[in-house]
Symmetry: C2
Subunit: 338 residues, 2 copies
């Protein structure tokens, strides 16, 4: 009893054939009441637990779905992950979460791993250009759904939020409240960030005399935000932007920390600040943070749904679902116009 019992041990113990034990487990109706009881008793006595590896090997597929996110510590992704997990559980699958940390090699590592595991499908919020890998995965029967990034619908499905629109909403709001010299903080090498920047630039171009400078941050974390904030504080007051749009809330909170630590800069009077994602912590910030809200639960749930559709269609039909983000106004961008 020290080592794990196999189905064969159970069969011997219950004095039936291995096939019968398997039937008890998978097709209870095919087995008579009497032997079913005997087998179940043996299973309990031996403490038998199915070996998933053997089962998968035979089935040729696992009950597992891979999810690769940019940062699990980011509440946006943990919320998406949670929604995906719940939706998958309802379908009898399990979600494995891999954290790429915005590193293309870690991303590739997880893709390899998930492929070795023969996952049912892959949800990915990509760092690098993974188009080719996705093509080969599809050819090998592993459907993929892009998360938080629009996909070409003749390649694969995707769930995303209109980042261009979100960027536009954010910048437009800053402009509407009277600010003209804007700054954008983020890492435009990430596509979503680039789209948000595009939207912001569009809003700026609609208003005569408005400008936007781009401050590249080292990552998308609170720490990276603090660095950018420190750089802003060191500038001569006249050189500082009137409003800052950060490509996510973590960055914005970091910037806020730096700006408020020095008492000379006031939010929103001197510099208005808006983030992106509307994480739970935005509302409880030093200065409650305006943000762009994304429907994370819907993203996670829909991603699983699209994956199921892909599987049913054998990977031939793709669909791109795009959600619309929403502006949430709080104190950090309170009016300077009136």
């Amino acid at each position: 009893m020290s080592q794990t019992a196999s189905i064969k041990d159970v069969a011997t113990h219950a004095q039936v054939a291995v096939g019968t034990v398997s039937n008890v487990l998978n097709y209870p109706d095919r087995v008579s009441q009497r032997t079913k009881e005997r087998v179940l008793k043996s299973i309990a006595e031996l403490g038998f637990v199915r070996n998933d590896a053997a089962r998968q090997l035979r089935a040729g597929q696992s009950r597992t779905i891979g999810l690769i996110v940019l940062d699990v510590g980011n509440p946006f992704f943990s919320s998406v992950a949670r929604a995906a997990e719940d939706a998958a559980t309802a379908l009898g699958s399990v979600v494995l979460v891999g954290d790429s940390g915005q590193d293309a090699s870690r991303e590739a590592h997880y893709m390899d791993l998930f492929q070795e595991q023969r996952v049912q499908g892959l949800l990915i919020s990509p760092v690098g250009d993974v188009g080719d890998r996705i093509d080969t995965l599809r050819d090998r029967g592993v459907p993929t759904v892009l998360v938080d990034q629009l996909a070409d619908t003749d390649r694969c499905s995707s769930v995303s939020v209109d980042d261009e629109e979100g960027g536009y909403l954010a910048a437009r709001h800053l402009l509407d409240t009277g600010r003209r010299r804007l700054a954008f903080v983020g890492t435009p090498s990430i596509r979503q960030v680039a789209n948000r920047l595009n939207g912001a630039q569009r809003a700026v171009s609609e208003i005569a005399g408005a400008t936007i400078e781009v401050l590249d941050s080292a990552g998308q974390t609170v720490l990276a935000g603090r660095q950018v904030g420190n750089a802003l504080v060191e500038r001569a007051p006249a050189e500082r932007p009137e409003a800052v749009f950060c490509s996510n809330d973590l960055l914005a909170l970091g910037v806020m920390q730096s700006l408020t630590m020095l008492r000379t800069v006031k939010i929103p009077e001197d510099i208005a600040l808006i983030g992106y994602d509307d994480i739970d912590f935005a509302v409880s910030a030093v200065v409650p943070l305006s943000s762009i809200r994304q429907p994370t639960e819907a993203l996670g749930r829909t991603a699983i749904e699209l994956l199921a559709e892909e599987q049913e269609s054998g990977g031939t039909k793709h669909r791109a679902v795009v959600f619309t983000p929403e502006l949430v106004v709080r104190q950090s961008t309170a009016g300077a116009d009136s």
Copy 2:
């Protein structure tokens, strides 16, 4: 090429035996340069990817470590998880994260799942009483390390932080700054929370005239905190505590949101507030939040180390590592004494 190639396909294509292909993969030194090249070429051409299920089946063990946490959305756990992942990767293993959501049945579900997967070992921050399950797991060769909870060292290993001490530090700090009527917010049905409460009560008992009331919250989230906060706001001012100690930062941030929304209660003048965990967001709260810092990276890393020790010793030697928490004072408990 549409379906996945097996090692046999590679062998045929490269005109060698399956064993040779396996050797190329696992013991490259045993294979001559010439055939190695030929095999690798075939692997590339066929796009062969190892089937992990088959490999595991043969090996009898997976390269996977299961981690069950109370809440992945909680930065404390996502930080621990991340550290564990990094440490495991260095050892060539992968960490699967399961979120019990403080629900014993979900916890049991993940334990079943991980057992079916034949994980190398299990790291768990338990909800219910899992002592018996851990015993049977150990008997079956699955070492377990308790995370964030002290274990009986003749049952299994554990990494934890001294919660009683942390609770004492927090309450003592509130008392040192002149507060006497304290409140504790949390769910004492969770052991860690109960220990923090014990420590707080010990501190209170040392000071004549000091009291502490217990407010049971519905969970450990920002939302649950907001509910408790609302209840406090509705009390007559004289009935309100002078200081509130929340069993984690999320709760504290929720309480803070409720209290500051209504302008009549001021933090820290009217009510001082301290949390637990010192998550990244504590510093950027409306009123920067005092907290108790736990060494999350050390917890995650050490958990993996202990698991490795368990494996080496064949699950016979257990060790309990206890870290000491640290008080972090910020504005939310600024002095009312002087």
